[in-house]
């Protein structure tokens, strides 16, 4: 069971890194590689989207290999992350709309927040149960 779980973890890592790679390509490619050609930009975005779907599918497969406690730990941290992201994200957006911050509210900041929050809540939960 553990070996299969490790295999699914490796597959997820592979899809995650390729997703990051295709994201970088779709972001910087139009400016630095193909000089803004719309067809190539569309293709890069499509490939990135497809890669993202495969990454989610790999994550789901890995999740199905978790046992009940691991699932509980992950689900609780994901629920907390989702709630915090909605609340913090909307407040962040309001700060931008009301010009209380001098810069634009970037989605990247929120993605970073999701990642950091998920890791923190995961480790807190893990410590609670293990």
């Amino acid at each position: 069971m553990k070996k299969e779980q490790q295999h699914h973890l490796k597959v997820l890592a592979l899809w995650t890194w390729t997703w990051v790679g295709t994201m970088a390509l779709a972001t910087f490619g139009p400016k630095f590689i193909w000089d803004g050609q719309t067809a190539l930009t569309s293709l890069a975005i499509f490939i990135n989207l497809l890669n993202g779907v495969l990454m989610i599918s790999a994550n789901r497969k890995l999740f199905n290999f978790y046992d009940e406690l691991e699932r509980k730990i992950h689900l609780e941290s994901l629920a907390l992350t989702l709630g915090l992201t909605v609340v913090v994200g909307l407040s962040y957006s309001l700060l931008d709309q009301t010009n209380l911050i001098s810069f634009d509210a970037e989605i990247g900041v929120l993605v970073l927040f999701v990642g950091v929050t998920e890791r923190i809540t995961f480790f807190i939960n893990r410590k609670r149960y293990l």
């Binding site: 009940e68 406690l69 149960y129 293990l130």
Partner: protein, 66 residues
């Protein structure tokens, strides 16, 4: 929920790792159940009951808060 999993596991001469393998969960899950930090699902409780040859009520002690 209070339980006697550790006691019954030792009575069977099993390590946490071995019990986890038989039940199909991780060793950490068995540890969390024994420390009463986590209540297992019904299928896991039934698998334990079969292995220990006891009814679930004999080793999981439900305490009503009413």
């Amino acid at each position: 929920m209070k339980n006697k999993v550790r006691e019954l596991r030792k009575l069977k001469g099993l390590t946490q790792e071995q019990l986890a393998e038989v039940i199909g969960v991780s060793r950490q899950t068995i540890n969390a159940i024994e420390k009463e930090k986590f209540d297992p699902s019904l299928p896991t409780a039934f698998k334990m009951a079969q292995l220990f040859d006891r009814s679930i009520e004999e080793f999981f002690l439900f305490e009503s808060h009413e």
